[in-house]
């Protein structure tokens, strides 16, 4: 009986010590800081080596990392957001290199890299990489839109839209968009409609960048003038 009581006391004491040790050791996940690591193609070689026969998993991990980076960037002050965007770009590049068929990568490039991080040229480059791998015209069309609307590079935009319209699933919008660039007649209305259409399939928490862009278009002077011209 005495032995059992002693054992019980010893166990309770040890449990208390364990809990106390854990509470003061302060080992917890701290928010990782962003860093401005420049992208290098050599990073892909390392990821290919560890992924071995499972490059798809490496791409999935990159996407999970992107969610994490985005969540952290939302908590970071405005001045240090740039540090996170560099990492976001790197993870997207890794994801695309590991699994170039993965549509989530291109969707996040559009939603986060372009409209949250404002890295338009990088987004266009990454979206254009989808061409040999996807049958879908979607990423190329988005790249064309960004090139036209944000980079104001109509030559590139037309080239991308033209390539998009050659895809098997090319929607009417791809053909129409290419021709409207040629006519230089597309304006705010088309841009806003296009961006609003892009919100479909995008989880709500990642829509903010595109919504902000729509809002800024709606309130811009040039768009107001265009809308007034239409009304007249």
């Amino acid at each position: 009986m005495a032995k059992a009581a002693m054992m019980l006391i010893a166990m309770i004491s040890l449990l208390t010590l364990t809990s106390w040790g854990r509470s003061v050791s302060d080992i917890r996940f701290s928010m990782v800081q962003g860093s401005t690591t420049e992208w290098s193609d050599n990073q892909v070689l390392f990821y290919r080596a560890w992924a071995g026969p499972l490059p798809g998993i490496a791409a999935d991990m990159a996407v999970l990392d992107i969610f994490n980076i985005y969540a952290n960037s939302q908590q970071a002050p405005l001045s240090s957001k740039e540090l996170w965007w560099s990492q976001l770009h790197n993870q997207l590049m890794i994801g695309q290199a590991m699994d170039p068929y993965f549509r989530d990568i291109y969707r996040l490039t559009e939603g986060l890299l372009a409209y949250e991080a404002n890295k338009m040229q990088e987004s266009v480059d990454l979206l254009a990489k989808s061409e040999p791998f996807l049958n879908s015209s979607d990423p190329l069309l988005v790249a064309a839109f960004i090139a036209h609307q944000e980079l104001h590079n109509d030559e590139l935009a037309f080239d991308l839209a033209n390539r998009a319209s050659k895809k098997t699933d090319a929607q009417q919008i791809a053909v129409g968009f290419a021709s409207s660039i040629l006519r230089k007649s597309n304006g705010c209305r088309i841009a806003i409609e296009f961006l609003a259409g892009r919100l479909q399939d995008m989880p709500e928490k990642y829509q903010q960048g595109i919504k902000n862009r729509i809002q800024s278009l709606q309130t811009s002077d040039s768009c107001r003038n265009e809308f007034m011209g239409h009304n007249n």
Binding site: D41, P53, L54
Partner: protein, 269 residues
């Protein structure tokens, strides 16, 4: 032939009686369902992510089986001299080794059946939740991929027999098998990197030659194109699949023949 069947069946029963094997079988029922949790985090290619995760599980359980079930079983035979029980019967070393190989390889089958059955049900459930985000025929691609991805592990099992034919015990078998597995895992991507001009220029020719030679000696575990293609439901070319299957089965037989040659000359006393 009776002796062969007897020892194969005995090996299978021996494996099945191990608690770790039973636990592994039980876990394979649950794991595909647990994989639905991380899958739900993704947006468009949900079916692809689910297949990726299931392939990851497949690699995981195949390795657990080889390292923690097959290796100790074979090592026990040598360390504790259990092989003498069989070899004292009118059974040759060749028969003993082939039977053990057949038994250990057959041990994959119950695990495979459980894994595929549970995954198929999980797929059906996933399709009912995510519908169009899972491509039609994704489950068939997954089953096809599973069967293909398992082939290198049969070759790796043959390598295990080759190592065991001259090894003194479990630590030696485990360390060498792990090294070989690690090389098999990393060499194909390294060779892929060597295709790039920049890497090619900065790597000495001797190293390239050594890497290529080692790659030729080891089984090719690089099923990356298969797992990537099938996860996206892209069809594989018949010739490539035939070549892939031939390579692994021929490698397994070759490794076993070599293992038997070494084992026959071994002094077991």
């Amino acid at each position: 032939m009776t002796k062969f069947y007897f020892l194969t069946l005995f090996t299978l029963k021996e494996i099945y009686s191990q608690r770790i094997y039973q636990i592994l079988t039980g876990m394979l029922i649950v794991i595909p369902w647990l994989m639905l949790i991380p899958t739900s985090l993704f947006m468009l290619d949900i079916g692809k992510v689910f297949i990726d995760l299931l392939f990851l599980c497949l690699h995981g359980w195949a390795l657990v089986y080889i390292f923690f079930i097959a290796s100790p079983l074979l090592a026990r035979d040598i360390e504790q001299g259990s092989c003498h029980i069989f070899l004292t019967l009118p059974m040759t070393r060749t028969q003993y080794y082939w039977s053990r190989f057949a038994g250990i390889t057959s041990g994959f089958i119950p695990l495979l059946i459980v894994f595929l059955a549970s995954s198929t049900l999980a797929f059906a459930f996933a399709e009912s939740i995510w519908g169009s985000y899972i491509q039609a025929g994704a489950n068939t691609s997954f089953i096809y991929g599973t069967l293909l991805i398992l082939l290198p592990y049969i070759a790796l099992t043959a390598v295990l027999f080759m190592i065991a034919s001259s090894a003194t015990g479990l630590p030696e078998i485990t360390v060498f098998l792990f090294l070989i597995w690690l090389l098999c895992w990393t060499i194909p991507p390294v060779l892929g990197a060597l295709q790039e001009t920049e890497v090619q220029n900065s790597t000495p020719d001797v190293i390239v030659l050594v890497i290529k030679a080692v790659h030729q000696l080891l089984p090719d575990l690089s099923s990356s194109e298969i797992s990537l293609g099938l996860a996206h439901n892209y069809p594989l070319q018949s010739l490539q699949v035939i070549g892939y299957c031939t390579h692994h089965l021929a490698y397994a037989l070759l490794a076993m023949l070599l293992a038997i040659t070494i084992f026959k000359r071994r002094d077991l006393s």
